[in-house]
């Protein structure tokens, strides 16, 4: 908890976490604050007016509703993908780093392959083969399954560094098996690092979803920030100056990712004192 106190002293952290909380509150309570409806309420691309202060889309739907739904979807996918990627990456990383030897080499090779082959490409290939049934959950799972490699690498470096620490060696000598050592001794030690990594994975998940939806391979049944942008592009809103079609979504994506990066950087600053002024 001393850690939390230190974090709260950093203006970067406070700013980042406030931004993030703001978006989460919007996502969770948005439907109660604003009326959210997917029905047609007016003319195609009507400019912002009255209570529709973000204007209407090309199907006459209210952008405020779309944004709130979109925010919920994007956060959901980001979180889902982040959790899956962090869990896989952490365990691959810890196991490889701890075991060393040929297990490590094999896992390393496996990880490196996933790092080098662009996950975006894999996303395209998988998504395009599902011409129906593309849900948020499916996309979240796919993103999670394809973007864990960076986490694995980072965690492995940490893990192989601490396996020489005394309390680990002691546990080994006491005959504890590998799984127990990982869960009981290594994981708590790396908890703060894994949390930082998790934040980055969530950010990356949100961006991946926006990217894949942007090109039309996103969820088919719901609205997400990426699909809003895709729609804006496809209907030529971009060129016609219909700013409300894409500016709000771009701002929100930027704000979320920026907030997450701020949190991550400030945490780095607290954990690694050399980076402080």
């Amino acid at each position: 908890m001393k850690l939390l106190k230190n974090l709260l002293k950093s203006p970067m952290f406070v700013f980042g976490i406030s931004l993030l909380l703001l978006t989460i509150i919007l996502a969770v309570f948005g439907s109660s604050i604003f009326t959210v409806t997917m029905d047609r309420v007016g003319q195609q691309y009507a400019a912002p007016h009255g209570k529709y202060f973000l204007g209407l889309d090309d199907l006459g739907r209210d952008y405020v509703s779309l944004m709130i739904r979109g925010l919920q979807s994007s956060l959901y996918v980001g979180l889902l993908a982040g959790v899956i990627a962090t869990v896989i990456g952490t365990f691959v990383g810890i196991y490889g780093g701890f075991k060393g030897g040929w297990v490590d080499d094999l896992l390393n090779m496996f990880t490196n392959i996933f790092i080098v082959i662009p996950s975006f490409v894999i996303l395209i290939l998988i998504s395009s083969s599902f011409s129906e049934g593309r849900s948020l959950t499916l996309i979240g799972i796919i993103i999670g399954l394809t973007t864990w490699s960076w986490t694995a690498r980072a965690v492995r470096a940490q893990s192989s560094a601490i396996k020489t620490k005394d309390h680990i060696i002691l546990a080994k000598l006491n005959g504890a098996n590998t799984v127990k050592i990982i869960l009981v001794h290594i994981l708590p030690y790396l908890a703060s690092y894994v949390f930082m990594v998790f934040i980055l994975q969530v950010a990356s998940g949100i961006l991946s979803e926006a990217s894949i939806s942007m090109i039309g391979l996103g969820p088919l049944d719901t609205v997400s920030l990426g699909t809003i942008l895709n729609q804006a592009k496809n209907t030529g809103a971009l060129g016609d100056g219909v700013w409300w079609a894409f500016i709000p979504a771009t701002v929100v994506i930027t704000v979320i990712v920026f907030a997450l990066y701020l949190i991550n950087t400030s945490m780095e600053g607290v954990f690694n004192p050399r980076l402080r002024k």
């Binding site: 390393n108 080098v116 975006f120 395209i124 290939l125 395009s128 942008l229 060129g239 100056g241 980076l275």
Partner: protein, 357 residues
Amino acid sequence: MLKKYPTLRYILQRGGWYFITFIIAVTINFFLPRLGNNNPVDIIMGKASSGLSTEAAREKEESYLVEFGLVKKVKGEIVRDELGRPVKSSSFEQFVNYIKMCFMGDFGTSFQKYPKKVLDVILDAVPWTIALQLPTIIFGWIIGNVLGVLAAYRRGIFDRVFFPSAMLLSSIPFFVFGMLLVYCFAVVWGVFPAMGGYAGDLVPSFSWAFFSSAGYHYILPFFSIFLCLAGGQAIGMRSMGIYELGTDYIKYAQWLGLKGNRILGYIFRNAMLPQLTGLALSLGTMISGALITEMIFSYPGLGMAMLTAIQNNDYPVIQGGTLIITVSVLIANFTVDILIGFLDPRVKAGLQMGKGN
């Protein structure tokens, strides 16, 4: 013999690994789209068979099946089952066939632009992509890192203004920034064109009019990618630079009375090595982001080609495109790896002393 040339051994080692990765990538590239169990010929038949008699439709379907390598053939004759229908070849046979075709440079035929070959579609688009992405990534990396070192060395006001703006820039995805730039500069202020690689009424040629139009259309996409990339590099380099400033050898350099610029050079030369490694790791993401940016600008590169293919379920082009993208990323990664091998004496030494990776 190989022991005498550690650099050569390093190159061969890395090359070998990349080759294995390439094989895996090609395999994944082939099998993933088939997860969804869709038959591409059915899609194409939907368009092509309207107005044809059943017999003609069946013949057409068979010819497509052959063309897309989906049926078994023995001595050039279609193998048929007891009902006279062609026997579909197994996935493995299709795969082997695919590899054979790739070696002959035939990556299949586009559905949407039938009978245009996938290779031709890609070759039309690739020069545009390379022209946009190569300079952007190289300059973005160099300039971003130089700014980062400067920020690390001369902290203070430069740092307070520079750091938050770089941070913001680096969080914005390229294509998002691209959209903002289009809105500001193309729509509101009308200074730059909003889309295309060149003016609509021109045809690609070696004329001044064409090149100047292409250059004009180049600027917004270039800056979309360049600014965000440089911002990200600057942030990373700044951290690395601050770290290097605390090292013994920099303190010693200061004690020896070396000039400030020389010390900056020392920091850069050392900090750029992990930055290069970081570049290699993020190349895949960078190139993907740049491709989406191309789509925003309807820039006639690989990005647009992929977008059109996806929107039209043009599987051969999608597959060909992803293959090219993956191979390019692999080649780029390999190049950076070799570069690191040459630039970091510790890598060479590590190999000389027989240490593993």
